[in-house]
């Protein structure tokens, strides 16, 4: 029982530390321009280098979505509505979520392992010793880079999913592309696009800050680094799903 209580205490303490880091991020944000070059470098790693996995993720999710829904709709003679399910599914849900999950794995692992290695080798202490805030130097550029790059990456996932869905619908279900597009575009409302594109900002912010927090919290040796990297990826991925639920249930109903 005391073990459970201790573990719970550590979780609460971790949450407190994470909250304090968030406060430091907001306080330090005005100094962001000093680390602009670091942010640009991170944009390359988070954004440009993630182009291919996100593109492929979008393509295959689009294909699966079109095939699965297409065959079901075909039973009711409504296969021309595939465009609607693919466009709504990709833009509102699967585009942001697949991008979020891929980047939780990629960016989360990168941030946690890099900062964790810096923590173990005392480079974080060295930054503090030389009067530099590790949050301003390391977390803010990564977070800004993630927030900036997640939106275009989500757009790529959405677009590639819809296009691949269109192609597979034409080839597999013999639905004309003009029907597909008409169905896809007529179903989309402004609030679908708004919800679909507001999600990446929150996903990016939490994936980046959570993984950086796990990096900072690394204590011990290489085994600890492995554990914190796993935790960072798992928690970031779960946060993507939880936030997606919140947006789908709460924000969508509020709009």
């Amino acid at each position: 029982m005391s073990g459970i209580a201790h573990s719970f205490k550590l979780k609460i303490f971790g949450l407190q530390e994470y909250s304090l880091m968030l406060v430091e991020i907001f306080k330090g944000f005005p100094k962001f321009l000093r680390t602009w070059s670091d942010a640009v470098n991170e944009m390359y790693w988070i954004g440009a280098r993630a182009f291919l996995p996100v593109l492929l993720g979008g393509i295959f999710v689009g294909i699966i979505l079109a095939l699965e829904t297409g065959h079901q709709l075909d039973h009711f003679g409504a296969k021309t509505l595939v465009g609607r399910t693919v466009s709504l599914g990709m833009i509102r849900e699967l585009g942001p979520v697949i991008t979020g999950l891929l980047l939780a794995a990629r960016t989360g692992a990168k941030n946690a392992s890099e900062l964790g290695a810096m923590q173990i080798s005392e480079q974080i202490d060295a930054l503090r010793a030389f009067g530099t805030s590790p949050v301003i130097k390391l977390v803010i550029p990564r977070t800004v880079a993630a927030v900036v790059m997640f939106l275009p990456l989500t757009a790529i996932a959405d677009l590639s999913g819809i296009l691949s869905g269109m192609i597979v619908t034409k080839l597999s279900l013999n639905v004309d592309t003009s029907f597909f597009w008409h169905s896809a575009l007529s179903a989309l409302l402004m609030k679908d696009i708004f919800v679909g594109f507001i999600k990446p900002f929150f996903f990016a912010f939490f994936i980046s800050t959570i993984s950086c927090y796990y990096g900072f919290s690394t204590r011990g040796g290489t085994a600890a680094l492995g554990k914190t990297t796993i935790n960072a990826v798992v928690v970031s991925s779960l946060i993507v799903l939880v936030l997606d639920f919140i947006f789908t249930k709460v924000v969508w109903e509020l709009l």
Partner: protein
């Protein structure tokens, strides 16, 4: 110059430092000596304000830094340079960028003056010409010199060394100890944490022996060699053995 009064620190239920009191005078080389896990490095981190003690006072230049926030402590920290045990060099930067780090972040020097200053410091630590080399291409001894150069870059009044010769061969160890003495001769106060007795004896003005988070005894080498404390006698056993061996070798 540095004074720790009744400083205690615990991690969870584990006591790290127990009511430690130490006094380090300006310009001296003060050695904090003790076995691994005795709490020596924790003392350095508390002096630098990286860790906050649970109780007690930590006075640097007459200012108590215990309980200060990260922002409040910055002016005090800028008087201190540190050489970490594992060097803690920024491995994404080359030697020049590592040594210039503090100057670029906090000084008003232009880039030409910074380059000149870096070149001067690298000459002082016998690393001239290594400016563009990346950290992972350096040997252990060279990394330690770069770490010392980085600590010296802003001419701090106090330099803290955490196990400066650990993991180095005897020749590199000797050159690092010589370097610490040369840095001290420039007027800096040096605090050296080590578990290597010979290093402590060869450079220390005063030695504080720490065991299990508490100060066992403070004094000069002479004081400690004549100590009746059983832990000190055990710790200094190596010296008596070396002296006996030397005597025997000479007589033979």
């Amino acid at each position: 110059m540095i004074e720790l009064s009744n400083v205690s620190l615990e991690f969870g239920d584990r006591p790290i430092l127990k009511d430690i009191s130490l006094s380090i005078n300006e310009g001296e080389i003060a050695i904090i000596l003790g076995p691994s896990g005795a709490g020596k490095s924790s003392i350095l981190k508390i002096i630098l304000g990286l860790w906050q003690p649970d109780s007690g006072k930590v006075t640097v230049d007459g200012i108590n830094i215990a309980g200060m926030s990260e922002v409040q402590i910055l002016p005090i920290r800028s008087k201190m340079g540190i050489v970490f045990q594992a060097n803690a060099l920024f491995d994404s930067l080359n030697v020049e960028d590592n040594v210039a780090y503090f100057l670029r972040e906090h000084s008003k020097l232009n880039s030409k003056d910074i380059r000149n200053k870096v070149s001067e410091i690298l000459s002082f630590v016998n690393l001239k010409g290594t400016e563009k080399i990346y950290i992972d291409q350096l040997s252990g001894g060279m990394k330690k010199r770069v770490a010392i150069a980085r600590a010296l870059s802003f001419d701090p009044e106090i330099i803290l060394y955490d196990e400066p010769t650990t993991g180095l061969d005897p020749i590199n160890s000797k050159s690092i100890l010589d370097l610490i003495k040369r840095v001290s001769n420039r007027g800096a106060t040096s605090v050296v944490v080590t578990h290597i007795l010979n290093d402590a004896i060869s450079i220390g003005d005063t030695l504080s022996v720490i065991n299990e988070g508490a100060v066992v005894q403070t004094g000069t080498v002479h004081d400690l060699l004549n100590s009746k404390n059983p832990f000190i006698k055990d710790f200094f056993y190596e010296v008596y053995q070396d002296a006996a061996l030397l005597k025997k070798t000479i007589s033979e």
